[in-house]
Symmetry: C2
């Protein structure tokens, strides 16, 4: 049980975690830290946090654990503002969607990755953003990836792992590089594809008919295109190389299918569609 938990950034993920930390009696006091006192006051009024501090003059020296939940491009700025009051005994972790740039930002601020900083990423969320959409049990049966480096204190990793396990999550460790490669394919690429699909439909001459006749499946398919642009601009910049690789790999596969359609080659089209159906159906059984 943590005595004091500081949430730096009180968005969907950190607010959902706050709910679980309270319900499962994992935290006594939860302090929100951010830049917007009105938003923080609202989160307090909703009982998501017990009280709050402004990031620019925060004092986190009594923290058991500090959880960063800011757009990944704001990691460095946030850590620099935490640094003056940071107690080296405090656990530090984050919930960002990219890990390479988070580790790099921490190294830039502290000279090296602090031993008690455990980079993390819960694979959960929704296209909605803001603490108003916080959900209890958001992490139940979801994967949380921790990416400790050789600098990271093993006891710190175990403490962060215990916290996530208590929310019902499954915790796995991998390297920063593995994380960013895998997520570029499973999450970042699909988001770019969904945003692009909507933009393409919107720029067509028959756009108004198109949105009128879109089937239910279209809305499922493009749900993630309603995700927060600010968060995703940061992810695009932070994971640029891996994401470009994934976009290019995807484009090559689309060209292969395009070419088979162009040639009316039913056998190749059939083989490609069957392979995809088989892969997806099999992956669901895992």
């Amino acid at each position: 049980m943590f005595n004091k938990v500081y949430l730096v950034g009180v968005g969907l993920i950190n607010a959902s975690l706050a709910k679980d930390l309270k319900r499962y009696q994992l935290a006594k006091t939860i302090i929100g830290v951010g830049r917007d006192s009105q938003r923080l006051a609202k989160a307090q009024a909703l009982d998501i946090i017990d009280n709050y501090q402004l990031l620019q003059d925060c004092n986190v020296s009594d923290a058991d654990v500090i959880i960063l939940g800011v757009p990944v491009g704001k990691t460095g700025d946030s850590l620099a503002l935490l640094k003056p009051s940071l107690n080296p005994r405090s656990l530090l972790t984050d919930v960002g969607s990219t890990k390479g740039n988070v580790v790099q930002a921490a190294e830039e601020v502290f000279g090296e990755l602090p031993a008690r900083f455990v980079p993390g990423h819960p694979i959960a969320g929704s296209e909605q953003s803001g603490f108003e959409y916080a959900q209890e049990d958001l992490f139940q049966n979801r994967k949380v990836i921790l990416t400790p480096t050789e600098n990271t204190d093993e006891a710190a990793v175990q403490d962060i792992k215990k916290m996530w396990l208590a929310t019902g999550a499954q915790v796995e460790e991998m390297t920063v590089g593995q994380h960013d490669a895998i997520l570029s394919a499973t999450s970042h690429l699909p988001h770019m594809v969904a945003y692009t699909l909507v933009n393409y439909l919107g720029e067509r001459d028959d756009a108004s008919s198109i949105f009128n006749f879109a089937a239910g499946g279209f809305y499922d398919f493009t749900r993630i295109a309603s995700s927060d642009p600010t968060m995703w601009v940061d992810i695009c910049k932070a994971n640029k190389d891996r994401l470009l690789e994934s976009i290019d790999g995807f484009s090559n596969c689309l060209n292969e299918l395009r070419s088979a359609i162009d040639k009316q080659d039913g056998d190749v089209i059939n083989a490609l569609l069957k392979q995809a159906k088989h892969l997806r159906d099999a992956s669901l059984l895992k």
Copy 2:
């Protein structure tokens, strides 16, 4: 109320329609017509159809209405087998996902589009196929598009329209060309994108980790990649030109985003993602 309804092909759509025709007392007797007597016997055992005939020696002369629900590439073959016993007074319609090739197939078999043939397409369904997945009220609040030509008898259009309205659908008319262009963008393209995304992930070196760490959103996003390949090969071939146009338009948009990511141009990335979010959120309000 129809006395005798013939369903040529008893798949998800026709079987779901059969359920509604019975529940809403729109059909007295429903006869399945197909190529596989075992499947037809099973559909009869499940009370989806009252009895059945094999397509190769069917007699549909007493039909009030004949509803074609076969993969769109089988339209010509099916119509040729119906032709000998077809009563010119019978209503004829179909539920195919493409309309240009269906009309063309009918013109080839009959010399011109029969006056009582009303090409149609209910925008409903799921990634599942087969009458086992038939659902009551599948068409409730869904759009059904009818694409009559100048050959089509207006009374026939009104009768088919009434049938769909009785299932709770909204019926709209447009030209064959408009239908195929719109659907290439709202349905055919997203299916190709989803199939391709799964294939790309499957061919990566880290494919096994990828499917292990895919988030819930990934399964929503790729749900349509579990659709029936046979049906989709036919759609690709039938709507080739429009589909290639849609794939190319999408690829251009993806390249625009790719280029902004490559340049780390946050303003352009942000503008593109915001535009997509705005378009999707606005289209949901309609």
